[in-house]
């Protein structure tokens, strides 16, 4: 007996296939394929996840991770340090830096570098946010700033890998894959884990597709990258000279012959194959439909401040909302442009200008649609930056940095944790990346200790083997 059969799928499949091979199912399939736009999926094909029912009451249905790639300076964005301003140009006290890991500033004289922007008290909550982020300042009451983040990897590539997979060793599933595997997706005609990227404002560090890879989980759980240039999804367009009708004929014929072959092959995998071809065919319609933003009213476009489809972060934010509406479980937007080793003042102004409005628009848009309450937003980078100068920029920094959360189950209008007076180390309520993972999973209804897969002798979890805690203080 094949596992699918054990699941009770066999009966429905056999029924379908038997009828298909007699021509009845074929007709039904044809109707399905030739139907207008994206027909509804056979819901039995949807992956329902292994955390079913949830371990705890879920607050979030989906996650939108706005990854500020390159390592935004917390000192110019979310963590105001007046003492650092006073110390500008003076030697960094050795008590802060002794024995700590340093990237490009190795063996150099370390001097304090004051914040390059002033901060304003924003919203009713009066959270202090940099003037470089005026739009985010306007949604201050929706966001919870975590000022005490810590990570373990000081170079971009391993740090992203750590942030996404909980370890710097490549080959583990990314958090989106874990979540898809744990919960499945509600998107019927789209992948459940989608990634988009934009660029601009600073040195564009490379981003590896490892960051959304499923690692040792099957590839059905991997993130699918939507591309700004060319086809949004690889191979989603028909070949030249092939119309949707032609394609329907081909897909239908493949399905019918596969079904016939099952009469002598008796292979349950055939049913899955047919279902995946149907899904593929529906995606060929649903992806263009998703990207066609002609139905967005002008005030919405105005709020995001972008031309849809122009590849900007703001455009990706708009698409993220459309993906969220369609049930996509995990949406990750990378903006590559926060690596400000030099010229940080101008650099931050430019990069912040590229992401600020889109971020705030996304939060506002979701709130207005009632979707913010079940959407978790994470905004932040793979690490922060040194309080010490690197010329007129800052180096990578992992002892303390900031990010913010918004939406589902998160208390808006609050700050959590603190770095020391110079913004070097997280000293009050430190939040490790693992704690963030645990908290995110908790909001999705998952106990992080119970979502694991045996791999190379270990029960591997997103949060790894070190202790991790749900940061309940930031939850409502």
């Amino acid at each position: 007996m094949h596992p699918y059969e054990a699941h009770g799928l066999r009966l429905t499949r056999r029924t379908f296939l038997n009828s298909a091979s007699k021509g009845i199912g074929a007709a039904a399939l044809w109707t399905l394929l030739a139907g207008q736009g994206a027909a509804r999926a056979d819901t039995k094909d949807l992956w329902r996840g292994v955390v079913n029912p949830p371990h705890v009451r879920p607050r979030a249905k989906r996650v939108i991770h706005l990854c500020m790639a390159g390592g935004p300076s917390h000192l110019e964005t979310l963590d105001y340090k007046p003492r650092l301003a006073e110390m500008h140009g003076q030697p960094m006290p050795e008590s802060f830096t002794k024995g700590q890991q340093i990237a490009q500033l190795q063996n150099q004289e370390l001097r304090c570098f004051g914040p390059q922007f002033s901060f304003r008290a924003c919203g009713n909550s009066g959270q202090r946010i940099s003037e470089a982020l005026p739009f985010i300042g306007q949604v201050a009451d929706d966001i919870c700033i975590v000022r005490s983040m810590r990570t373990e990897q000081i170079n971009h590539d391993p740090a992203h890998t750590f942030f996404n997979t909980g370890t710097a060793i490549p080959g583990r599933p990314s958090m989106g894959s874990w979540i898809l595997y744990g919960l499945g997706s509600e998107a019927e005609n789209l992948p459940g884990f989608i990634v988009m990227t934009s660029v601009g404002g600073g040195q564009a560090q490379p981003i590896s597709s490892r960051q959304w890879h499923s690692g040792f989980l099957p590839s059905r759980f991997q993130g699918v990258q939507f591309h700004a240039a060319g086809e949004a999804v690889h191979y989603v367009g028909n070949p030249p000279g092939v119309t949707r009708g032609h394609q329907a004929d081909v897909v239908s014929a493949v399905g019918r012959i596969n079904a016939l072959a099952n009469d002598h092959l008796d292979d349950p995998e055939i049913a899955a194959r047919i279902a995946q071809y149907e899904m593929a065919f529906r995606m060929q319609a649903s992806v263009p439909e998703l990207l066609d933003t002609s139905d967005e009213p002008s005030h919405i476009l105005e709020m995001y401040g972008c031309t849809p489809g122009d590849g900007t972060f703001a455009s990706n934010c708009l698409l993220a909302r459309r993906l969220a509406e369609r049930g996509v479980r995990f949406i990750q937007l990378y903006h590559r442009g926060w690596d400000h080793h030099g010229g940080i003042k101008g650099g931050i102004r430019t990069t912040a200008g590229l992401v600020d409005r889109g971020t705030a628009a996304l939060i506002t848009d979701l709130r207005q649609r009632g979707m913010l309450e079940d959407t978790l937003i994470i905004w932040g980078g793979e690490f922060g930056r040194t309080p010490m100068a690197q010329g007129d920029g800052r180096d990578h920094h992992i002892q303390g940095y900031s990010l913010f959360l918004a939406g589902a189950g998160v208390r808006g209008g609050m700050s959590y944790g603190e770095t020391d007076e110079l913004g070097y180390s997280a000293v009050v309520n430190p939040v490790h990346v693992r704690d963030l993972h645990a908290t995110m999973l908790h909001l999705l209804g998952i106990d992080h200790e119970r979502l694991s897969v045996p791999f190379q002798g270990l029960d591997v979890r997103l949060t790894g083997v070190e202790p991790a805690r749900v940061v309940r203080e930031v939850l409502t």
């Binding site: 007996m1 094949h2 054990a6 699941h7 024995g99 000081i154 170079n155 971009h156 590539d157 710097a168 060793i169 490549p170 080959g171 990227t197 560090q205 490379p206 590896s208 597709s209 989980l217 099957p218 590839s219 059905r220 700004a228 240039a229 060319g230 086809e231 999804v233 690889h234 191979y235 989603v236 070949p239 030249p240 000279g241 119309t243 032609h246 081909v250 014929a253 493949v254 012959i257 596969n258 016939l260 292979d267 995998e269 055939i270 194959r273 995946q276 071809y277 899904m279 593929a280 065919f281 060929q284 990378y334 119970r450 694991s452 897969v453 045996p454 190379q456 002798g457 270990l458 029960d459």
Partner: protein, 1030 residues
């Protein structure tokens, strides 16, 4: 019977995860344990997995984590009297065993395993433990670590079914349960199966027919022998090996730059094809460089040690990355050869298997002699540390030609002629007189940033004011000096300049990157240049050409006067007033600009050199009257003169160009990283894997202690010692691991389900004696891989039908008994190869550089350092087998990725087999597959007659080896007819379809006909059966 598994609350082992993922865990446990109930529990098969997964983390091998002093992994520990006075296990008396009391306790505070670790035992598992204790709690040595002895072949009833000993082991188990093996698969299925298994390619229709018709007794063996002799066998085996050793064409970290290692891939293919004994293969991989008088091929093999990911990211710390590379080698080598997850012991002793952290670092110490930086530079030239030059025959010929021409030019330079001697005498005469220089007074000096210049009394100019990073000085002057032969730039010190100048950089330096002169608007060609001094690497000649950062610099002569002289090729000026525009580009950056300078011109006969250019020795000879010079001195002076003689300028230029050309060719030679040994680095245990912690014990190379020891009297152990141990009688793991994996390649699943872990968290083999017999035979054959493969595929077990058997559905859902063959989707490379082979597009060349098939545009947009565009290959390179596809670790080709090929960032022993819409989209729309379809269509139209039904039949058979049934044929013909009509009406669409891809479209064929058959071909190439091995 079913081997037990470690079910973890709704989870499952990695194997076939997709297929298994829908099975409720409880049901699985029930299935497994139902069979376990039938016979007495055995430690390795039934008990160890439970203890390992539920207990060992706290009561196992890791002494640091051990709770209550109790260890359950050895019998002495489990049966000892604890502090409490109780004994965890009292053999024969479950009731008296504390373990039983605790795992069944109703008190949540007492119950084991603790509730917070979420590892509750099921009722069935508790029952297994109870019965095992009742029956004496006998421990067994872990199956994988026991020595490989001779195995007794079991007796069977149905001797007629036994083709070789493999069958005996399988049949004995089946007969014990009253199950008959499955009948042999039909011949079409058989030859498709074995051709895919041994070569990764589909059997051609002709091969199928030949085998179906061959009634001779050894028909099967002939096929097997033919396939084992095929050069494609090596490609198939290599594809798997390359996953294990995580071979790729890019470095993986950060910029994921390319690296040239394909000769290693070709070495692996060749090794399998030539059936190199696996022990030798092991030695060459790990220590090819250490073998006496190692050959070029063995050096290439040693690239094994250099296949891991490498970084060139700025800001990375070398020690950090050296630690990562070391750990990566331990992980890869231990999984690839030992099937052991030593990687777990990087931060602490292994929780489940007897590897200590010290073992981990001692193992790493074997590789501490590999010469490598932690962080690489030079990657822009494609050099990744120690390398082997892969000079092509063309490059070799080119170098030989250049060297020949260099020799000719050099000969001209050493040959004296009467003309040269006369010119030399005139030059000597002039040397007595100083060169008459005339300083130029600027009418203007222009700069971008408004640098201010003050004219000093000596005719020099001093810069002040803005001090930009880079600058271009445009010096404009007039002169009436006729026949100018040279221009001199003097760089002068000044107290107002940093470090007294003459440059404006903090250290007094400057870089003159480029000088150019226009006379009355005409570009003046400059010939040779000389200087009183040039900084190493920053020569005055660099100022004559655009050469990036390079130019003329002056360190360590800050604070001194220097001069540079540039000869003109022709005489410049006729005596009338002439406007000279001299541009001096100083683009190095960081304020490396000129602080004080003076420009002069002369019309003295060439050669004109910078004034103190004459070395002391030459100057002394010149001062010596001709008659008094020794022969040696005369030769020396003549040689010197020829080096500056204007008469030989052309030859010298030619020589310079040739040398540049040679450098260019040298740079174009691919450099392949290989292993070069050096003094071993000190290797310490890193506490918790922290590379910054240097308090750990210093370790020497050693194999894991529990597996014994390799000793050499005085010397440190080497990689060669490790390689020898890996394939020695003392190590039972390598042979078992390899036999299990070769089995996997022929059955889609190992005899032990876990190909990457033979430890206690792995899976005990379903047929341990068979595995041992295969491993024993493998060693005894002299590590003969082909013999091992042949042994397996010659068995009747292999030749069984893979058809599911309803009567075994309940008792053996996962076919652990091997009462039939398995069936599974082809691997990514084979999916590609299948379409290309069926269509006739496949280019069957073996080996060579990696190739780049069509790939969506912009896929590499997220890459940087450098940013790059994928350059699609042309010609035959487009149609090579998947094993040759360029393997970009961070952006693997989407087709390979869609079909579960691993990124090869880490060692992978087993691939998932998923079934996704992305895979469907790839097969439907990737131009590779569309082009294959249209080329297949061309064959259908030209090779299969005119009748649509006959064509459909022929096409189907080409792909699947058998003829279609009537219904299938009807569907194919229906697609043809409808599309034929539609494409007839839309010739533009038809034309577009039949032109997908780079291969030519024959003009004589009817386009609509071709397009319609392309649709049919697409249907056939997308069929499930075509990409499945039955």
């Amino acid at each position: 019977m079913n081997g037990p598994r470690q079910w973890v609350r709704g989870l499952w082992p990695k194997v076939d995860m997709d297929a298994w993922s829908l099975v409720p865990a409880a049901l699985m446990v029930a299935l497994v344990c139902a069979s376990a109930a039938a016979e007495p529990p055995r430690f390795n098969r039934d008990v160890r997995p439970i203890l390992s997964n539920h207990c060992f983390a706290c009561h196992g091998f890791d002494a640091h984590e051990r709770k209550a002093g109790l260890r359950l992994d050895v019998r002495e520990g489990a049966t000892a009297v604890m502090k409490s006075g109780a004994r965890a296990i009292v053999p024969g008396d479950a009731g008296a065993s504390e373990l039983m009391r605790r795992i069944t306790s109703a008190d949540a505070g007492e119950r084991m395993p603790p509730v917070e670790i979420h590892k509750d035992l099921s009722a069935e598992q508790i029952e297994v433990l109870r019965r095992w204790i009742e029956e004496g709690a006998e421990y067994e040595a872990h199956w994988a670590y026991t020595p490989l002895g001779e195995v007794k072949k079991p007796a069977v009833g149905n001797e007629a079914w036994v083709a070789n000993d493999v069958d005996r082991f399988v049949l004995a188990k089946l007969e014990a349960r009253g199950i008959a093996p499955s009948p042999q698969a039909d011949r079409v299925t058989l030859i498709r199966r074995v051709t895919l298994d041994l070569t990764g390619l589909p059997a051609t229709a002709e091969e199928v027919d030949a085998f179906v018709k061959d009634q001779s007794a050894d028909a099967w063996e002939k096929v097997v022998d033919r396939l084992l002799a095929s050069p494609h066998y090596g490609e198939r085996m290599a594809a798997y090996w390359l996953d294990l050793v995580r071979y790729a064409d890019s470095v993986g970290y950060h910029g994921d730059q390319e690296v040239t290692v394909w000769p290693y891939r070709d070495y692996v293919i060749k090794a399998f094809n030539e059936n190199m004994p696996f022990d030798r293969f092991t030695r060459e991989n790990l220590a090819g460089d250490l073998l006496p008088e190692s050959t070029r091929e063995q050096k290439i093999a040693s690239a094994y040690n250099r296949l891991g990911m490498m970084t060139a990211e700025g800001g990375s710390q070398p020690k950090d990355f050296l630690a990562r590379y070391a750990a990566d080698r331990v992980r890869t080598t231990s999984v690839a050869w030992l099937g052991s997850t030593m990687g777990c012991a990087e931060c602490h002793d292994h929780k489940f298997d007897p590897f200590t952290a010290k073992d981990f670092y001692s193992f790493a110490a074997f590789f501490a002699d590999i010469k490598e930086p932690g962080v690489y530079s030079g990657y822009m030239e494609g050099v990744w540390g120690e390398s082997l030059a892969l000079t092509t025959p063309e490059q070799e010929a080119e170098l030989a030609r250049i060297d020949r021409e260099i020799m000719e030019a050099e000969r001209a330079l050493v040959t004296s002629t009467p003309e040269l001697e006369a010119a030399q005498r005139a030059w000597e005469a002039r040397l007595a007189q100083p060169t008459p220089w005339r300083a130029l007074t600027a009418t203007a000096i222009e700069t971008k940033s408004g640098v201010e210049f003050k004219l000093l009394e000596d005719g020099s100019y001093l810069a002040s004011g803005p001090n930009p990073g880079e600058e271009i000085y445009t010096f404009i002057a007039e002169t009436d000096l006729p026949g100018i032969t040279a221009l001199r730039v003097e760089l002068l010190p000044d107290d107002s300049l940093p470090s007294k100048g003459p440059g404006r950089a903090g250290n007094g330096n400057l870089v003159l990157n480029r000088i150019a002169i226009r006379a009355n608007g005409q570009e003046v060609t400059l010939g040779s240049a000389s200087a009183t001094h040039s900084q190493a690497e920053y020569l005055i000649e660099h100022a004559l050409v655009d050469n990036g950062q390079l130019g003329w610099a002056i360190l360590p002569k800050a604070g001194e006067r220097l001069a540079g002289v540039f000869e003109t090729v022709g005489d410049v000026g006729d005596g009338g007033t002439m406007r000279l525009v001299i541009t001096m580009a100083q683009t190095y950056g960081y304020q490396h600009t000129i602080g004080r300078f003076r420009i002069s011109v002369t019309n003295a006969p060439r050669p004109v050199r910078a004034d103190t250019d004459l070395a002391d020795e030459i100057a002394a000879i010149v001062r010596t009257p001709y008659e008094e010079r020794t022969r040696e001195q005369r030769d020396k002076l003549a040689e010197y003169y020829r080096s500056i003689a204007p008469e030989l300028g052309a030859v010298r230029n030619r020589l310079r160009d040739l040398r540049e050309e040679r450098k260019k060719v040298e740079r174009s030679i691919r450099q392949m990283p290989i292993t070069v040994a050096t003094t071993p680095r000190e290797m310490r245990v890193l506490p918790r894997g922290n590379w910054m912690d240097e308090t750990g014990e210093v370790v020497q190379p050693a194999i894991p202690a529990f597996l014994g020891a390799v000793s050499r009297t005085d010397e440190r152990l080497t990689r060669l010692d490790l390689a020898n141990w890996l394939t020695s009688e003392d190590n039972p793991l390598t042979a078992r691991v390899l036999a299990n994996r070769v089995w996997y390649l022929q059955f889609g699943r190992g005899l032990s389900d876990r190909l990457d872990d033979v430890g206690s968290q792995g899976a005990a083999p379903t047929h341990p004696d068979l595995l041992d017999d295969l491993a024993r035979g493998f060693v005894d054959s002299g590590w003969d891989v082909k013999a091992l493969v042949k042994r397996i595929v010659m068995s009747n077990t292999y030749r069984q039908s893979s058809q599911p058997r309803p009567e075994l559905r309940q008792s053996d859902p996962f076919n652990r008994l091997l009462a039939r063959q398995n069936r599974y989707r082809l691997e990514a490379e084979a999916v590609r190869d299948h379409a290309l082979a069926v269509s006739g597009l496949l280019v069957r060349t073996i080996g060579g550089r990696s190739v780049r098939p069509y790939q969506p545009k912009g896929y590499y947009a997220q890459l940087n350092f450098p940013a790059r565009e994928y350059e699609v290959d042309t010609g035959d390179h487009l149609y090579r087998r998947g094993v040759y596809t360029h393997w970009q670790r961070t952006f693997l080709h989407p087709m390979l990725k869609a079909f579960d090929a691993p990124s090869r960032e880490e060692c992978a022993a087993q691939r998932a087999r998923s079934n996704t819409p992305l895979a469907a989209l790839t097969l439907l729309n990737d131009p590779t597959f569309v082009e294959a379809a249209r080329i297949f269509a061309r064959r259908i139209v030209t090779e299969a007659g005119d009748d649509p039904e006959a064509r459909a039949t022929w096409a189907y058979k080409q792909a699947l080896g058998r003829e279609p049934g009537d219904e299938v044929r009807a569907i194919l013909v229906e697609v043809y007819r409808e599309h034929r009509a539609q494409y007839e009406a839309d010739p533009a669409a038809a034309m577009a379809l039949v032109n997908v891809g780079a291969s030519a479209t024959p003009a004589e064929l009817n386009v609509a006909e071709l397009a319609a058959w392309t649709s049919v071909a697409r249907v056939i190439l997308n069929l499930h059966e075509g990409i499945t091995r039955y």
